[in-house]
């Protein structure tokens, strides 16, 4: 009986990272894993961060760095309004990547604005892996 109990306990503990108490990034990546993604790559996320996309209508070159800069530890600035943006790096700004809804909202908006489309689950997962290490 104790053997079964210890297995049950160990399994539950092993699955703990995927429970609701897991951090926002882990929760989101768990969802992406159910959407056809096999693994995440922070290096791919870093590349995506730097990549330039041409806005069809205006010809403007857009990338994450346009507002957030290439150094995630630095504050950014809204490209149009000039409004200061707090650093994206969680090591500098612990508020980052803590709110699932906030992450999803901004990924939707900013991918659509920058890439001209929603980011795929792969791209979103890679970005999150990249950002969380900054």
């Amino acid at each position: 009986m104790f053997h079964r109990l210890s297995i049950a306990l160990t399994t539950s503990l092993a699955l703990l990272p995927l429970s609701a108490t897991a951090d926002a990034t882990t929760q989101l990546q768990a969802v992406y894993l159910t959407q056809g993604v096999e693994r995440f790559d922070a290096a791919d996320g870093a590349a995506l961060w730097q990549q330039q996309f041409t806005h069809a209508k205006s010809g403007q070159q857009r990338s994450c760095t346009l507002c957030h800069t290439a150094q995630l530890g630095n504050p950014g600035k809204h490209a149009r309004t000039g409004k200061p943006i707090e650093p994206m790096a969680p090591s500098v700004n612990p508020q980052r990547l803590t709110d699932k809804a906030k992450i999803e909202k901004w990924l939707k908006r900013n991918c659509k604005w920058t890439l001209g489309r929603e980011c795929t689950p792969q791209e979103k997962g890679d970005l999150l892996s990249f950002i969380r290490n900054q």
Binding site: R80, T81, K83, A101, K105, R109, K112, W113
Partner: protein
């Protein structure tokens, strides 16, 4: 009379005098000294009706967070309902930006804006703004309302568009030091790099 009573009377008179002074000074502060009873006047009378240039401050926390994160949280009374509606229905192209929201947030903010919009609020600054739009298609930009254009028509380009610290008329709180409190009074204006606006 007891000494204590004398002192009390002296203090009370002093307070009364002081208070009167404050009230008079406050009234002098206003561009106009009285408010019209708001009746059915023509649009010109409504546009130029004397009121204090204040507007209900933004009280919706959701609006402040969602819409004040990129730019000044413009008070609902600054635009008519039809303008707000068009803005809220086209958030994927919000003056060139994507400002999409979840359905629930979008609906809540739209309700909030419409209920306090110029026209729905029929007094003070919102009323004047609405009246100034008489006969024209309501613009989407606050800075394109006739009221706004009229109030800002003497300000040179170098103080706004060519001013690094202001950049645009959309940037209300760059110059209007109490804009967040809903106050746009002339003596509160401090143009960065230039100082007070003196008419």
């Amino acid at each position: 009379m007891k000494r204590q009573t004398k002192i009390l009377l002296l203090v009370m008179s002093g307070l009364l005098l002081g208070l009167t002074g404050v009230v008079l000074a406050e009234r002098d502060d206003h561009e106009h000294e009285y408010e019209h009873e708001e009746h059915e006047h023509g649009y010109l009378q409504r546009w130029f009706a004397p009121t204090r240039p204040v507007i209900s401050p933004v009280v919706s926390q959701l609006y402040q967070e969602e819409c004040g994160s990129c730019h000044f949280a413009y008070q609902p009374g600054l635009l008519p309902a039809v303008s707000w509606q068009q803005i809220m229905q086209n958030l994927d192209d919000h003056f060139g930006e994507n400002a999409e929201l979840g359905e629930a947030e979008q609906a809540a903010i739209q309700d909030y804006l419409l209920s306090l919009s110029a026209g729905r609020v029929d007094q003070g600054l919102p009323r004047r703004i609405k009246a100034s739009l008489d006969g024209m298609t309501p613009p989407l930009r606050i800075t394109k309302t006739r009221f706004f254009l009229h109030e800002h028509d003497e300000i040179p380009q170098l103080m706004v568009q060519d001013n690094d610290q202001v950049r645009s008329f959309s940037n209300c709180d760059a110059c209007h030091s109490r804009a967040a409190q809903g106050s746009f009074r002339e003596h509160e204006i401090l143009i960065p790099g230039y100082g007070r606006w003196d008419d």
